[in-house]
């Protein structure tokens, strides 16, 4: 393998990997903070892309601004979804509700939300597939290796968001409270903290991450109503590989899956995907909790 090809493959792996990472960080925040396995996450991602399309292409805003706006809009959508659906649902749960019941009902509620968001987008934006022409169309040519600037920007933005998120979760009080709330909301309430808004923020933050992922990817891929359905499987897979509830695990998992797919397509062709799935099962044989997570009940 020539070094040029190698670099090319690595860049490909990083782009796709970083999108998975953003998606999964969002999924994981929602899962840990609010105990919801969010099946609508893919639709939030899709909405993020559509919102970017709206701001960037239709309203002609600056890309960075449009991206921030799509994050913000999705945070709002997330918050509203939480208020409208999951907040109502969580009133049904008591301390003695079993975990599996809780998980199941909230997952099903998110499936309902998914259907509505999916078809709603379809009705609003029509079936026409869209896309935006990248604001960074340049190709960087480093020693004969052609790398699209869009990809570099995507990787850079993802790293930026990851760092920001890391700071938020581990260096601020919000992060600690979030972890606490996911364990025992009542005890946290008794410290004078309005736990309800913490839940809302968790969901909004997770949704914003999905929206950002969708927005970031829009210049690279196309914007279609079905784009959410396709990414959610891979996101779940990354979540599993990395280990649920592990920030580092998510990043490792996203990169690993990105690399496997990138090199897999090169050397194995179409069945690379199957190969990745099987590899995941093998990983789980040896590490039931994922790469960096712990096996959980």
């Amino acid at each position: 393998m020539s070094p040029g090809l190698f670099i090319q493959l690595i860049v490909n792996a990083l782009t796709i990997g970083s999108i998975y990472i953003l998606m999964v960080l969002g999924l994981d925040i929602i899962l840990r903070g609010t105990k919801i396995l969010n099946f609508a996450h893919g639709q939030l991602y899709m909405l993020g892309a559509y919102v970017l399309l709206l701001f960037f292409q239709t309203l002609n805003l600056n890309f960075a601004l449009a991206l921030i706006l799509s994050g913000a809009t999705l945070a709002l959508v997330g918050a509203l979804s939480y208020l409208g659906v999951f907040a109502v649902l969580s009133r049904r749960f008591t301390v003695s509700t079993t975990f599996s019941y809780r998980l199941l009902l909230s997952a099903m509620a998110s499936v309902g939300l998914m259907m509505i968001l999916q078809q709603g987008t379809l009705l609003c934006f029509g079936t026409q597939e869209r896309g935006i022409l990248s604001p960074f169309p340049q190709i960087i040519d480093v020693f004969g290796v052609r790398i699209s600037l869009t990809r570099v920007v995507i990787i850079f933005l993802s790293i930026l968001i990851c760092i920001g998120l890391f700071f938020l979760m581990y260096k601020t009080r919000f992060g600690k409270i979030m972890r606490a709330v996911s364990y025992d909301p009542e005890a946290v309430t008794l410290q004078g903290i309005n736990t309800f808004w913490i839940f809302v923020s968790c969901f909004a933050l997770g949704s914003a991450l999905a929206g950002l992922a969708g927005g970031i990817i829009a210049p690279l891929f196309s914007v279609t109503p079905s784009m959410g359905q396709n990414i959610i499987f891979m996101s779940f897979l990354v979540l599993l590989v990395g280990g649920i509830g592990s920030y580092r695990g998510t990043i490792a998992g996203g990169l690993l899956v990105g690399l496997l797919l990138s090199f897999g397509f090169q050397f194995l062709g179409g069945i690379a995907e199957l190969f990745v799935f099987i590899l995941v099962i093998v990983i789980l044989v040896f590490r039931p909790g994922g790469l960096l997570g712990e096996a959980t009940e």
Partner: protein, 397 residues
């Protein structure tokens, strides 16, 4: 301009009372091919009735079309077809588009002797045992005519890579393409398959650039943005050769994701509405569409030949009995004219069938140069049939 708000007065009833001929159709309502085809049918059928409908053995028939959502899935398609056949008692189904629902429906339509004219790319649909089922899309027959044109335009292009989706259609068409290309002295370097929902084509483009072919071929590609993403990835990877595709990309969608330059030197079929002198039918269709729905969609042309084929078949067989029509068609074939050009049923000896079952149609070709399509030429159905016979052997007529 203030158009009168009242609907046009119904055409006064003709002397003989018209009977109703029920046509069934299943389409995916959640993607654009389904919706465009549905819109087309909802426009064509009332117009057809208004123009006098269909007359068989002196009896006039108006067509009533019932369209159900097949969700683009096997289960959805089966339920929809069950309903059409068993509840609505239709004897004819036209214009289905996806292989999965069509194949699932065959287990109902065949035993019930329901005539099916459908799109769908899977070769299994037109298998010999499916006596009542006819393919009216040209996926399987437009490759052979396309390649000679390519070699004529680019005589120096000698190596090719197929990039196609990793599914039934993609694989079958890639194999056919390889056959046709090899026969013309083009070397097929590799067949590359990508998972159906792929959006990131960079890994494939990287792989292709290692092979560095003169021709890129996209059998089985889907017309929308995914096609565009393929062009874009190759463009970004530095590909400068020829592109060839049996299907015209949906330009609006494709150009939404990729710059025009990336499509330079694409040879493909183009819709009959886009040739220098389109037929009256094509002109009228486009005008009607724009009047009714606004934005023009050339993709809506792809599946409607089934409707025209059906009408022609009934007229030629001069009966409304599905079994009799099928017997007639299998033995004699039929020719028709549609906004998408002329078409005719052909035999597929290469698929071990000796009945008329598949379609050869007139094909219009274009090449994408300097940011727009240029017209290359038109082949008649007969020429297209000849090309296929040369490539695959056997007698197709």
């Amino acid at each position: 301009n203030a158009a009168p708000a009242t609907p046009p007065a119904p055409v006064s009833a003709p002397a003989t009372e018209a009977k109703i001929l029920k046509l069934g159709c299943t389409l995916p309502f959640t993607n654009s091919l389904g919706i465009d085809t549905k819109k087309a049918l909802e426009m064509l059928v009332p117009a057809f009735n208004e123009a006098g409908g269909l007359t068989v053995k002196g009896q006039r028939y108006n067509i009533d079309i019932i369209i159900y959502d097949d969700k683009y899935t096997a289960d959805g398609g089966r339920a929809a077809v069950e309903r059409l056949v068993n509840e609505d008692k239709v004897n004819y189904i036209v214009c289905q588009v996806g292989s999965a629902p069509i194949v699932a429906g065959l287990a109902v339509t065949e035993p019930a002797k329901v005539l099916v004219f459908c799109g769908g790319a899977s070769g299994k649909i037109i298998a010999p045992q499916n006596k009542y089922t006819y393919g009216t899309a040209t996926w399987r027959t437009n490759l052979a005519p396309l390649f000679p044109l390519l070699t004529k335009s680019f005589p120096n292009a000698k190596t090719m890579v197929n990039l196609s989706p990793d599914d039934e259609t993609g694989k079958a068409l890639a194999a056919d393409n390889a056959k046709v290309a090899t026969a013309l002295g083009i070397k097929v370097l590799d067949n590359i398959f990508y998972p159906r929902d792929t959006q990131d084509f960079a890994p494939f483009a990287t792989k292709i650039m290692v092979l560095n072919p003169d021709i890129m071929d996209y059998p089985g590609a889907v017309a929308g943005t995914q096609f565009g993403l393929q062009f874009k990835a190759l463009y970004e990877a530095g590909y400068k050769g020829v592109h060839v595709s049996p299907m015209q990309p949906n330009l609006i969608e494709v150009l939404a994701v990729t710059p025009k330059e990336s499509m330079e030197n694409l040879i493909s079929i183009i819709p009959s509405t886009d040739v220098p002198n389109p037929s009256e039918m094509a002109k009228k269709y486009k005008a009607d569409w724009v009047a009714k729905y606004g934005e023009w969609s050339s993709a809506s042309l792809n599946w409607i030949p089934a409707f025209y084929a059906f009408i022609e078949a009934v007229k030629k067989a001069d009966t409304t009995d599905a079994e009799a029509i099928a017997t007639y068609l299998s033995a004699n074939g039929v020719q028709w004219e549609s906004p998408n050009g002329k078409g005719m049923l052909v035999k597929r000896p290469d698929l071990k069938g000796d009945r008329f079952c598949d379609t050869c149609a007139s094909l219009d070709f274009g090449i994408f140069k300097n940011g727009k399509y240029e017209y290359l030429g038109t082949l008649s159905p007969e020429e297209s049939l000849k090309a296929n016979e040369t490539a695959f052997g056997g007698t197709w007529k």
